[in-house]
Assembly symmetry: C2
Homo-oligomer: 427 residues x 2
């Protein structure tokens, strides 16, 4: 069998591991693919920085040349970022090469262009590693849940922030301390913005939503709130209700009305399957019409886990090429509107420091009622200077809930809105 030739663009932590696996597992891969799988070349910016184990004779700085070279069948992009990755991927697709990518930012920003090119040139574009690292998730959603209708996807898709929140939950630490510790242990970067401001999670949410609902969704369509405002008090409040604070990517379909995609901190019941996701692990919980509730759990990042997902895709596209076939095309036939965040139905947890006077509870309840929000539970704690009301609402639109909170902020009897957080995941 004519070998399948693989070009690698980028050779950082993940790329190096992909090289290692391709070389070490070559017999296994050949058996799986039905033909030998060969490394055709490795494009890097800094050849002097190439790690041990990477065959120096294959290294080049001419990425576009490699991506469009006649002898190459598959291009693996593990550079990340928008450019030059986008141009390289388009170059590869237009030259009839299949592409495997781990690039969440690019797919969330311009997936449509790339999927369109793959469709037009009849080649595969696979991207399992772009969301939730090692967890086989995207291909099961694309291929196993075909014929099913997905209603909702709830995900913990960023290991850094899950680690931080888990530390806050376990040790009662504040956000700043938990972040410092995460950085010291290598779970968070020196500049943690992409993670703690949820840009990373928002890109992944867009990719998940697009796949789940067959409709175009970009990162700009995702309502995004990071974890920088989560306090030890929020975490303690959750614990008191047997809940845990997680930052969740939530993708919902409202029939044919539209889809809503958001990322924000939320309290979920500790007994929810997502509640048991500790440390830097990821998990994606799917609610589908026929399959029911499913969850996929595993390592969200790291060289070996991510490389494992890339390898799974390499084998799949290689087998497709050997068989003269291609995988299921990305379809966005539903073309559903993106619904505004204000329309999203959710629940709020609100903690108020109030003046300890008769009638405060009634006034606060009236404020909720005025906005059409029902209260599920209220707890009054403390007295005098320390009087606190802890309220959990029933489901209402986010617009109604947030304007209630705004009214409360300026309410005469409310000294401070100490904590506000959405409540999700009641199953």
């Amino acid at each position: 069998m004519k070998p399948v030739r693989v070009a690698l663009l980028g050779c950082g932590v993940v790329g190096t591991e992909v090289v290692r696996l391709l070389l070490e597992q070559s017999d296994d891969l050949a058996a799986r693919v039905g033909a030998p799988v060969e490394l055709a070349g490795i494009a890097v910016r800094r050849p002097d920085r190439v790690r041990e184990g990477v065959p120096a004779d294959l290294v080049t700085t001419d990425a576009m040349g490699l991506a469009t070279r006649a002898d190459v069948d598959i291009v693996v992009e593990v550079i990340g970022g928008i450019e030059p990755a986008r141009s390289l991927i388009l170059g590869a697709l237009k030259s009839g090469k299949s592409v495997v990518s781990a690039n969440k930012a690019l797919l969330a920003e311009d997936g449509q262009t790339l999927f369109g090119a793959a469709r037009e040139f009849g080649v595969d574009l696979y991207y399992e590693a772009s969301v939730a690292g090692a967890i086989p998730l995207l291909r099961p959603l694309r291929e196993s849940l075909v014929g099913d209708r997905i209603h909702r996807v709830l995900g913990i898709v960023n290991g850094t922030t899950n680690y931080i929140l888990d530390q806050m939950d376990t040790h009662g630490a504040g956000f700043a301390d938990a972040l410092s510790e995460a950085q010291a242990l290598g779970y968070a970067e020196a500049d943690p913005t992409a993670d703690v401001e949820a840009f990373d999670a928002a890109a992944k949410a867009a990719i998940l939503a697009q796949l789940a609902f067959h409709t175009p969704v970009t990162a700009a369509d995702v309502h995004r709130e990071g974890i920088t405002d989560v306090t030890a008090q929020d975490v303690a409040g959750a614990k008191a209700m047997d809940c845990v604070v997680k930052i969740l990517a939530i993708c919902e379909r409202d029939g044919d009305r539209g889809v809503a995609v958001r990322v924000h901190p939320a309290m979920i019941p500790r007994t929810h399957p997502l509640g048991s996701v500790r440390g830097a692990y990821n998990a994606v919980f799917v609610e589908a019409e026929s399959a029911g509730s499913l969850m996929f759990y595993g390592a969200g990042a790291g060289g070996a886990p991510t490389a494992s997902a890339v390898l799974g895709d390499i084998v799949a596209v290689a087998r497709n090429r050997v068989n003269g076939a291609s995988g299921p095309v990305e379809t966005t036939y539903a073309a559903l509107p993106i619904l505004p965040m204000g329309d999203t139905v959710t629940r709020y947890y609100v903690q108020l420091d109030v003046a300890d006077q008769a009638g405060v509870l009634a006034q606060v309840a009236e404020e909720f009622a005025r906005h059409g929000v029902s209260i599920q539970a209220v707890r009054q704690e403390g007295s005098g200077e320390d009087a606190r009301l802890v309220i959990v609402t029933h489901r209402a639109t986010d617009a109604a809930l947030s304007s209630t909170v705004e009214s409360l902020r300026s309410h005469a009897s409310v000294r401070e809105v100490a904590s506000v957080m959405r409540v999700e995941g009641d199953i």
Copy 2:
């Protein structure tokens, strides 16, 4: 495009749902497959028992005729059991039809013959629905974790017994009461043997082990213990250690020495991801070399979830046929020996009723030491008539652990071995 013609063998709860999905989702399926997907016929034993929604003109009692008919491309077997399913599947494969099956008992008993026939005739045999119902599990293991090495698989693969144990854990009930309740609610059958004696779980364990380790494993190779001896006391003992009793299918590879496959009750930490699997849900926890720890969770059984898995397989094999390709063949190239249960390394929890005398603890500890078993923790409870020793061992061979327990049973100071259970899942 020439339509892909699907024959259904069996039309019970799952078959009826498969028919419904094929008819209702036909446009979606055609888009996914690249050709129309048509129902060619439905073979049943009792035409008078066919449910509403099933096209009567397609119903026949000639199953073999339908399975080998010239116009049929794909045969879906949802009859279950060994015969006539085996003969029908072999007949279909030998006639060049691809086969989709949900038949765990058959695959666990004679998978090798069926995979061999599929290989020989160059057609697909897919069986996602045979293990863990709706959860996309087998295809991710076969296709996404290719090139990875799986060390261990731990699974909750039987919803009936997980439901019963969950009830015992939540309500402190004894086994008999929990079983009666499960039967009343439809979670357990009138004759619950296949579930509570772990025959169902053992078949699934064999299928998982074969797939994970690329080596032949049949149900007979699986060490099997059901849940009928699990007591409320065992469950309480687990709770006191912040553990929970689950019945686990455990598949382990010991390098190239061999594989060990077993199903039995075990205590696992409540914080283990498998510890959060409630009610009749299933989950399979995989430990792989590159991917790390993964877990797949979802509904293990039920008409709609199982039909959803069958449909995913139908689409995959249909696409393969349209593309003139076939899926990855089942390989059992590793041909590893099956290791005896006695060699399996595990840990024990032992609760002993002892005479309340000085030196009993030392004597008991000595008994463990004599068998080469180290003790991790001992707790002494009660006194006088109620003196109890609760022991958790370190890892040792099952042979050493069980002979220790046998010695203790006849030990002068031990009045009764009140509880013995393996402890697993420390991550």
